[in-house]
């Protein structure tokens, strides 16, 4: 590590460093522009949305937000919000429970066909969702569950998101085996040692799973689009869909106010857990 012993005399070298920071900040400004634009537009009066070139509104039009709170298609935003929360919450619960159970078996227990089954599990990470989509839809349709939340939540309880099984397996493999062996000697079966020893230690991986599941489910559009048609059952994401066809600028303010509200949970999650999210990403290679 010879690089740390920089002589005090050579101060001007810092120019390269400053240039780097300036470059990074400039890149950041460009990248964050769409977010600033969203926030500004959500507060603009209707006549300024397109006509004005200024990013900042001349006066803050809070009525955009009160219009957004009324919701879309006569469904209030609270209804949409609680629908979104219900689905995301159910998905989080399902993924955390089912993926940690499967991960424990793959990481720690021995059973026949473990190798091939593990390989199959990894392969399903790459499987395009569309290959199973239509039959899944038909199954849920036959069960009379289309236009309910079951198709969106139930699969999560069956560990269908192999990403997270893999993430938790990787984490569990890093835990010292001695702890479990000690628990075994003390008379714990696999169930007690899972619940009392392994699961508490796996908490970081479970939290990562929970946060990513929440954000991905919240953002998910395709599955909600095909399974839900009752405006009453719409999520925030799906309600925003009704703005997709509309290109009239009069609805712009409320539409982007609603977009801000829909993004808010993700932004809050990100601010609260950014370290965890970035580390989880780096260690597992999960896509955001």
């Amino acid at each position: 590590m010879t690089t740390t012993t920089t002589p005090v005399v050579r101060k001007p070298v810092a120019w390269g460093r400053i240039a780097l920071h300036v470059g990074c900040l400039a890149a950041l400004l460009v990248m964050l522009y769409p977010l600033a634009w969203l926030l500004a537009t959500s507060l603009k009066p209707a006549d300024e949305v397109i006509a004005s070139l200024d990013l900042l509104p001349s006066r803050l039009e809070w009525s955009n937000y009160s219009t957004a709170l009324d919701g879309v298609n006569d469904v209030s935003i609270w209804r949409l919000l609680s629908n979104s929360l219900l689905i995301a919450g159910g998905a989080v619960l399902g993924n955390v429970i089912s993926c940690s159970l499967a991960a424990y078996a793959f990481a720690r227990l021995r059973f026949r066909f473990r190798g091939p089954l593990f390989a199959f599990m990894i392969a399903t990470i790459m499987l395009p969702h569309h290959a199973v989509l239509i039959p899944q839809y038909i199954i849920f349709n036959q069960l009379g569950l289309v236009n309910t939340y079951w198709p969106l939540i139930l699969p999560k309880f069956l560990a269908t998101e192999a990403f997270f099984v893999f993430l938790i397996v990787q984490f569990m493999r890093g835990l010292p085996r001695e702890l479990e062996e000690a628990a075994r000697i003390d008379g714990c079966g696999p169930f007690r040692s899972f619940f009392k020893v392994v699961l508490p230690l796996t908490r970081p991986a479970l939290i990562t799973t929970a946060i990513f599941t929440f954000i991905w489910t919240w953002n998910d559009f395709f599955t909600q689009l095909i399974y839900l048609f009752d405006p009453d059952k719409f999520t925030l994401t799906l309600a925003l869909r009704s703005f997709v066809d509309a290109s009239s600028t009069s609805a712009f303010g409320p539409m982007f106010a609603m977009s801000v509200i829909a993004l808010l949970p993700i932004v809050l999650f990100f601010l609260a857990f950014q370290r965890l999210l970035v580390e989880g990403m780096a260690s597992s290679g999960l896509k955001g």
Partner: protein, 314 residues
């Protein structure tokens, strides 16, 4: 699992030493299957069975209401020879993949290389550049994108392009740029990979007289190649399945003039709008095969350029 009790004849030989081990193994089987049961159920009912069913349906005419009617290869023939919109969607998707993935990975690598030597602010930049990867998948940002790239939007004002969203030749580029904007996820993985490279390698290269560029080519690139490969496979697979931004920017129909009609959007249109579930199933299977094929090709070519450090020990 009744077959477990009959050991294969060949396995009998080392019985004396293996017996206690095998008993232990069998002992722990039960609980393992209990832990695994949700996954097994999901794998069968929601993955394997649907794959088989969608393969079957791809040879039928099915509209959800009347029973499927066997039509043999009709769907495939129609897809490949009689449906210009199908080929349009294939071409659109390939164009999108070829634009978005390399640009996104290049940007991710450049930013990761810039952040690596940083002592201060690295954590801040890393998080800030990563944020769009989480937000960008949302409908909210897709709508922002459509407005910013629209006629009279910011990009039009800045570049005088007259709005990309309405121009058939340009709308797809707006979709691709939304993907490129989310370069933070691969960037974080690159950065983690860069930090794994031992500093001694650079020191040794410097002693041998290698300049910065030479060090990059001879140390960074080979050491980073497994991570590059990982990112390439993952982003390519994901790019083939792009939906939400194309849906939003193409006004839900892949417009203008089908220029943003990506594969999955056309699949959605055939299956869930036009109720041609058989046709959509055939499309899904072609997508599965293409993604499998592309992944296999990437793995095959990777042998010549991906360097695994542990191979040196052999």
């Amino acid at each position: 699992m009744t077959t477990t009790d009959i050991p294969a004849p060949a396995a009998r030989k080392p019985a004396a030493t293996a017996a206690p081990k095998r008993r232990l193994k069998r002992e722990s089987q039960g609980p393992a299957w209990v832990f695994l049961s949700p996954w097994v159920l999901g794998a069968i009912v929601l993955t394997l069975l649907p794959m088989a069913v969608s393969l079957y349906l791809s040879f039928t005419d099915y509209d959800l209401f009347s029973p499927p009617r066997w039509v043999g290869l009709r769907n495939y023939v129609q897809m490949f020879t009689e449906d210009p919109r199908y080929w349009r969607s294939v071409l659109t998707t390939l164009t999108y993949v070829v634009i978005a993935v390399p640009l996104q990975l290049a940007l991710a690598l450049v930013v990761a290389l810039a952040l690596k030597p940083m002592r201060r602010g690295k954590g801040f930049y890393r998080s800030a550049f990563y944020a769009p990867s989480l937000l960008g998948a949302s409908m909210s940002i897709a709508l922002v994108w459509r407005a910013v790239f629209n006629d009279g939007g910011t990009v039009d004002n800045l570049l005088g392009t007259g709005g990309w969203v309405n121009k058939p030749g340009w709308a797809l580029l707006a979709v691709a740029l939304l993907t490129v904007w989310q370069f933070g996820a691969p960037m974080v993985i690159f950065l983690a990979g860069l930090q794994q490279i031992p500093g001694e390698l650079y020191e040794a290269a410097a002693v041998d007289g290698a300049g910065k560029w030479r060090q990059f080519l001879s140390v960074t690139v080979p050491m980073l190649s497994p991570v590059l490969f990982f990112n390439l496979v993952l982003q390519t697979i994901q790019a083939f399945q792009v939906f939400t931004p194309a849906f939003a920017i193409g006004a839900g129909k892949g417009g203008p003039a089908d220029s943003t009609l990506v594969y999955t959007l056309y699949l959605y249109d055939r299956g869930f709008v036009a109720s041609h579930m058989g046709y959509a199933s055939a499309m899904a299977w072609v997508l599965l095969i293409v993604i499998g094929g592309v992944t296999a090709v990437l793995f095959r070519t990777s042998r010549s350029w991906v360097f695994y450090a542990s191979e040196g020990d052999r």
